[in-house]
């Protein structure tokens, strides 16, 4: 009897996840309907976002999201790969533990703190070097890059560590250097896992809010240059949700949330099902 009750409790809890996820999509969809009916596809293609005029075009937010994330990836991927290689092939013993722990700690720092640090310490540097306000796409891209760096390094290192030792030793036995082994054996072997990890990090970066809110500027304009203040979907949501005063405004924000959810869901799912599955089979 108790067995059955316990079993049902566990099954209920497990199924709850599926229910919640589905529910999230349904709720967001329903609340976006008004905006979708009012604007149609214009919602995505128009960049005029003027709440007092009742106009909500998300193009600036979407482009801001995409470009800041791409910028972050360009900056973070080489460094993350370097750190992953360092952790999996170069460092030994105490150095490895020390650096490994440092990467984990970096990953644990709350994003609001990255944002704060970025605002007070990085933005002035950008302002002094490039002029302008300092706040904008570049600042957001850099802070975002630093934020996803630890996660990216950790999962890429894990992917590289799946390479069997004797495969590496075979390459050394032919007179290969460490770099030869890394580029000819480890990276091809762990290719699926590495790419999957990078895409997974991309999926996370798209949804990042707090690190970016401090330094992006919250200006609904498609950025003309990398120094321009702009906005992204999460930044818009963070700054405007509590200011929305009409049902159309709310509906548009929910539309943004839905767009963001779909975007990150798709990217993460691709990483998981295509690349990381392959890696597990290998």
């Amino acid at each position: 009897m108790i067995d059955k009750i316990f079993f049902n409790f566990t099954r209920f809890s497990a199924l709850l996840i599926l229910v919640i996820v589905a529910w999230i999509f349904v709720v967001l969809f329903n609340h976006s309907l008004e905006a979708m009916h009012t604007f149609g596809l214009d919602f995505i293609t128009q960049d005029e976002w003027a709440p007092n005029l009742g106009k909500f075009g998300a193009k600036a937010a979407i482009i801001g999201s995409v470009i800041s994330t791409l910028l972050a990836m360009i900056l973070a991927v080489p460094v993350a790969m370097g750190v992953a290689i360092f952790l999996s092939e170069i460092a030994h013993d105490k150095i490895k533990s020390f650096f490994g722990l440092s990467v984990e700690l970096l990953a644990a720092i709350p994003s609001v703190i990255y944002g704060m640090w970025g605002l007070f310490y990085f933005v002035p540097i950008i302002r002094d070097t490039f002029g302008g306000m300092g706040i904008g796409l570049l600042a957001a891209g850099i802070v975002l890059a630093i934020m996803i760096l630890p996660f990216m390094a950790a999962v890429t290192r894990d992917a590289m560590n799946t390479t069997p030792d004797i495969l590496k030793e075979s390459a050394y036995a032919l007179g290969g250097t460490q770099w030869d082994v890394i580029k000819d054996v480890i990276i091809p072997y762990a290719k699926a896992g590495i790419i999957g990890s990078l895409i997974l990090a991309l999926g996370r970066a798209i949804g990042e809010t707090m690190a970016v809110t401090f330094v992006m500027g919250n200006v609904h304009k498609v950025p003309g240059s990398i120094l321009d203040p702009t906005t992204s979907i999460p930044v818009t949501l963070a700054n405007e949700f509590t200011e929305a005063d009409s049902s159309l405004y709310f509906s548009s924000l929910f539309g943004l949330a839905l767009t963001l959810l779909v975007m990150s869901f798709v990217v993460i799912a691709i990483a998981k099902f295509y690349f990381l599955r392959k890696a597990r089979r290998a």
Binding site: I166, L167, E169, Y172, A173, L174, G175, G176, V185, K191
Partner: protein, 261 residues
């Protein structure tokens, strides 16, 4: 003390008072080993698990150096010098002393690229030269007929026995002096094992071979000289026939007759 015969032929390698301690270990895993390795012959190393035969094998190509903290003591002489010194150029050494592992280790690339790998590492770029050397290696490894029509295909499509022969082709493509085999057939079925054993015997014309095996019968079938190791020491080294029929040491006899495994 150990019974080690004098080898009349030329030696490819000479081990002298070689001692090896793993990182952090309180006692050495190999205790003052002295043995000759005859040229163009097959020397087998046998002994129970943990006797140190693989540890000794991996010292010949300084494979232990991949894991810092291990300590070499004594000498291993090759080409007139001690290859255990810190000055030794490991990359060069490994092109002269090659290794085949317990499981087939085909790289994630095409069959051709696998065999050409060592050659490319040495800087060979000329397509004709590469083609010739790859073909020769595959023929010498008795696998050319099976793969010559699919050289560009991924090596992982080959069977276990084929992959191991591919690894042998890869190792002999760089024309080494010595080949080290670490239990090369332990992951293979009996038919593939036969094929590899036949190949190893053919190869001794060109290279000196040291083979570690936990299968006594394999040592008896294949090798010219056999060394029996126990608990990190070389107990006896002799002509294979003599050692198996009339071993000089009691321990050797007990191992051979199955008194311990």
């Amino acid at each position: 003390m150990a019974s080690i015969i004098n080898i009349k032929e030329e030696c490819a390698l000479q081990v002298r008072d070689f001692e090896f301690t793993y990182k952090g270990a309180t006692a050495p895993s190999l205790k003052k080993i002295t043995m000759p390795i005859a040229k163009n012959s097959i020397t087998a190393l046998i002994g129970p698990s943990g006797c140190g035969k693989t540890t000794l094998l991996r010292a010949f190509n300084r494979m232990h150096d991949l894991y810092p903290g291990n300590v070499y003591n004594g000498e291993i002489e090759f080409e007139g010098r001690n290859i255990l010194t810190p000055k030794e150029d490991l990359i060069q050494l490994r092109t002269k002393i090659g290794m085949i592992f317990q499981k087939p280790t085909a790289f994630p690339m095409s069959i051709f690229d696998n065999v050409a790998y060592g050659l490319r590492l040495q800087g060979m770029k000329n397509k004709t030269e590469l083609n010739d050397r790859v073909e020769k290696a595959l023929k010498d490894a008795a696998i050319w007929k099976e793969v010559n029509d699919r050289l560009k295909q991924d090596a992982n499509g080959l069977s276990g026995g084929q992959q191991q022969r591919l690894c042998i082709a890869r190792a002999i493509a760089v024309e080494p002096e010595v080949l080290l085999f670490d239990e090369p057939t332990s992951a293979l079925d009996p038919i593939s094992t036969q094929g590899i054993e036949k190949l190893v015997i053919e190869l001794k014309e060109r290279v000196s071979i040291i083979i570690v095996t936990h299968n006594m019968q394999q040592a008896a079938r294949v090798s010219d000289y056999t060394g029996f190791m126990y608990l990190g020491e070389l107990i006896e080294l002799g002509n294979t026939e003599d050692l198996f029929v009339t071993p000089k040491e009691k321990l050797t006899q007990e191992y051979i007759t199955g008194k311990f495994g």
